[in-house]
Amino acid sequence: MNKTTKSNFITYGMVIAAYVIMQILVGTGSVSSLLKGLLVPLCIYVVLALSLNLTVGIMGELSLGHAGFMCVGAFSSAVFSVVTVDTITNVAVRFTLAIIIGAIVAAIFGIILGIPVLRLRGDYLAIVTLAFGEIVKNFINVVYLGIDKNGFHFSMKDSVSLNMEEGSKVIINGAQGITGTPKNATFTIGIVIILISLFVILNLINSRSGRAIMAIRDNRIAAESVGINITKYKLMAFTISASIAGVAGVLYAHNLSTLTALPKNFGYNMSIMILVFVVLGGIGNMRGSIIAAVLLTLLPELLRGLNDYRMLIYAIVLIVMMLFNWSPKAREFRDKYSLKRLFSKKNAQKEEA
């Protein structure tokens, strides 16, 4: 077993261990309602962080529009679930289909956006993805979609102009979004999706394609000169990343009974939040992303005791963590006093003895 495989197994093991421990704790009733309610959101943010890390860390491009992919995944799957809630009564089948739909729709958007924009680089790509996310959010807010026995009705004005017959159902009601999505997302499904995402990403990294993607990241011109098809590999990574974000959106939509495209949940703020997970956890480091996503999602909840000062402290902690993680001086300090080094010293002493 080589080093990467071992490292990958540790990552899987960590997720499974966290799952088992949480399940035991939930089973014995020693978990607060808050934490129980947080389990699914934690999974959602972990999946999002993994997805963005594929774009930022492996492909080396900055995306500020991941909330847009999440948004299309969430809305497409929620529409499906609301429409079929009475016809497909088997929850497992319906939710699996919803996940697949979310993933495919997000992937399609990834391709549509990726083909023209992936030739942009750096901050220009970042701003185009940000623009994409904002367009999606703005568009969703003016869409009205209803269904009656004649089929779907679509309008961009208001729900009255859908002209529907009796017994109809408004599915997307403009800014009021979708209400009544079945609450199907569970911790177990969330963990399974994390594991699948991890599997896809880690396998991609260690595949021929993954090496090509990373070669493009490290030196585009050199990669091109050895005959790597830049567009193809970039598009591949981007699409996979988008569809994973879409699945996170599916979980999001099926965890709350209401789904609206507010700046808070699907705007650039959310995209930046995900980026914070990725950067804090270490760019390109999947395990770091998981840990950072968990810690930063829990942090504001654990700070609730501070009342009005909660978000202030959160901001300070974020800055301090960034400085501690990234500044060269702090890194030096950590290397000097890290556990790793202490352990190795002890080992060295033992060997001497």
Partner: protein, 293 residues
């Protein structure tokens, strides 16, 4: 006639974006970092003005000077504490720290001033211009903002071209390492950049709040992002580009509200941005990047 009205309103909105974008592009061009806290420094400038004018009762000009002083100091402190230690780290790390600073400023303002909207007294005393028998109005704020952004744009360009410190900035933006070897104090130059950027933010705050007179702890966030878009639109790092980008953004936003759909105006603005970047990948006045192997 109404078209001209829409156009003028677009220009007046755009001049605000342009003014903010100048500060953005300045910091980005030299320090190569997206200062997401720029919008919040604008907000702090607005609150400083509000306190100085309404609580202390000082005249607007004094208030603007005090706001410039406070914002400059704030910008320098933020740079020293939060950005300087990360100078060698990934640019993304600095970006995230800037976001942290942005949250921090918003929440400090929330705790000090509360969430209630405050109405800002305009610092501008220039009268409005009325054309075509009152059918077209150009407010004093618009006149001042446009003139201020043009003066600042030319001033910045002259400063960078003619002064020693400006040349040092240019050198730092080209190549930090080489600049250091040439005896340029890179840290001092970047600090100076932040000082100027933050002073510009204070002026932008004064004019933003005069033109759109509501003030909350979140006032700066959205104009900040829009100005960032404007800066990219015009070619980020380019000073005249920021000005043109800002004005164009304002015009596109208002014309699409007027003639296409007021609901979809944001989407249209961003769609135009995507198209422009696809045609001209470094923005309207952006420099072509020469790639080396």
């Amino acid at each position: 006639m109404s078209f001209i009205s829409y156009l003028i309103n677009g220009i007046s909105l755009g001049s605000i974006y342009a003014l903010i974008a100048l500060g953005y592009t300045m910091v980005y061009g030299i320090a190569k970092m997206l200062n997401f806290a720029h919008g919040d420094i604008i907000m702090i400038g607005g609150f400083t003005l509000f306190v100085v004018m309404n609580t202390l009762g000082l005249p607007p000009l004094v208030a603007v000077l005090i706001a410039i002083a406070i914002c400059t100091a704030l910008g320098v402190i933020i740079e020293k504490v939060a950005y300087k230690p990360l100078r060698q780290a990934s640019p993304l790390a600095v970006l995230i720290t800037a976001i942290g600073v942005s949250y921090l400023l918003q929440n400090v303002a929330l705790l000090i001033f509360g969430a209630n909207t405050k109405l800002f007294t305009s610092v501008v005393t220039v009268p409005a211009i009325s054309l075509a028998e009152g059918q077209i109005n150009i407010s004093g704020e618009t006149t001042v903002t446009i003139i201020a952004s043009i003066i600042i744009m030319i001033g910045l360009m002259l400063f960078i071209k003619k002064s020693k410190a400006g040349q040092a900035m240019l050198a730092v933006s080209e190549d930090k390492g080489a600049a250091e070897l040439m005896g340029i104090n890179v840290n001092a130059t970047i600090t100076l950049t932040f000082a100027i950027g933050s002073a510009l933010a204070a002026i932008a705050g004064a004019l933003l709040c005069s033109a759109y007179p509501t003030l909350t702890p979140y006032t700066g966030a959205m104009p900040g992002i829009k100005a960032f878009v404007a800066a990219v639109f015009g070619g980020i790092g380019s000073i005249p580009g920021a000005f043109i980008g800002g004005i164009l953004l304002g015009i596109i936003e208002n014309l699409s509200k007027a003639y296409i759909s007021s609901q979809m105006a944001d989407a249209i603005v961003f769609a135009v941005l995507i198209v422009v970047l696809l045609v001209k990948p470094t923005g309207i006045l952006g420099k072509k990047i020469n790639e080396k192997v």
